[in-house]
Amino acid sequence: MFLQLLINSLIAGAIYALVASGFSLIYSTCKFVHFAHGAVVAFSAYIAYLLFSIWGLNFWLAVILAIIFGAFLGWLINVLVYRPLRRKKSSSVILLIAGFATLIILESLILMFFGADVKTIDFIQTAEGLEFFGAIITPLQIVIVIVSVILFILLFLLMKKTRIGKAMRAVADNTEVAEIVGISAERIHSWSFIIGSAIAGIGGILIGLEQNLEPTMGTNLVIKGFTAAIIGGIGSVPGAVLGSFLLGAAENFGIWYLPSGYKDAIAFVILFIFLLFRSQGILGIKKS
């Protein structure tokens, strides 16, 4: 039982981390809560479903197109919604409400086009689970964990080694100084949205393969991603990944004591606790 819960925590953590890392990347450079991030995850998953399950495209082609779509959607939201608001020097609260409105628009669009019923991407027939000391893990779940670990390493290398990653960190640290040394903050914002949303797209597809697709899945995921980011330290991508695994563990071990329907409520209670007592998160540094 313990081992099974541990494995479940790991898988849930990997899924949350796919959402939280992109969210956190965008937060670190743009300094606002990109609420519509969840809708990017959901929309990419539905596009993969549309291309593969309805139009019958080759699976890998469908996956690549869905990821590109996710990146494009994130970029588009930034250009159409956030950029005009930033130009007007809107407060981060306005950006948050705008993101919330965007999320509702995208979820409603999904509802209109795909209907309210639950969808599944049936690429992988339910395979026999592998057994480890009495705990069961499916091959797909192993893939999810491996893909997310590879992505986090790539993201880490991107942030540390490449020019664009360094520019992102500069903007995250101090936008004004970064602009003085010739980095275009607007361009970095765009790149954060593209990269963050591409990760969201990959996350969406993996979630779609592992669980069912529902129009409102995005809201739930963005709240989880946000909670994970707060736990780990908002604006820190490694923090978000750490927070995701902790959140996954808290939820899965929490339902040892509580009915499983309260899984989501556990996340919010943790969110409250962190907002109250350690709003800078575990890895975050408190700014005065």
């Binding site: 407060s91 409105a101 669009l109 909670t227 409250f272």
Partner: protein, 290 residues
Amino acid sequence: MFSAYIIHLLILIGIYMILSLSLQLAMGYSGLLNLGHVAFYAIGAYVSALLALAGVPFWICIILAGLVAMLFGFLLAIPTNKLKGDYLALATLGFTFVVYAVTLNWTDLTRGPLGLPGIPKPVLFGISFSDNLHFLFLTITIAIISYLIIKQIARSPFGKALQAARDDELAAEILGKNTFKLKSYSLAISAFFAGIAGSLYAHYITFIDPSSFTIMQLIPVLAIVIIGGLASLEGTLLAAIILTLIPEPLRFIGFPSSIIGPARQIIYALILLLILIFRPRGFFGKVKLE
């Protein structure tokens, strides 16, 4: 038939007015970006419905609906007191999800996803409000009373202190105002009226389930408050009328209801987005959204 439809719309407008006027008190006058307002609405609806189904008279149901919601307003104010802006918005939004999870999972009390059917129509002083015209009078009366009370609160020294704390918390504290007390009273009063609105909704529709109180329901209310303009009660009333009516033509074009639902949400969210981009103060807003 047509007039029945008009009466239905007017009742909805009345309920939205109470709901958005109360959010206006928290958001506009106290500067608390409370995205948990729907949770108070849900609490009011469930409290009132459960009491009414247990045979409690309507006037007790609706008052207790308000009071229980108020109590939760206090409870929410305690942990969120120090939070500002984004953090407050997300913490209060989280509260909506917690309430939703409880209504969905505490099946012994709420019957979970099955919902509560057969909520009795109100009877007050021996008058039954079972037909919609009577219900409309009841809704309008309560909406007017709510408006007058909230207006009075906004004008009172307490309301002035709230606005002072909104504009400059430190200055208000230096003048000896207890801003925690101010903010928590404001949130509690706001929750009280949301609970009243929830009670009216429950007794009007006579059926409630958790899906009636998701964050989707927040969008119209938030749109009304922001479009009307922060700290403007008249703007809120006007926006409540306009926004309730705007998606109605969809019904006559003959779209199926599976399209109308999401289309309404898209219209509200789009209006909200456009107003944030082009006129963030709304029509009659007195303060900026921060």
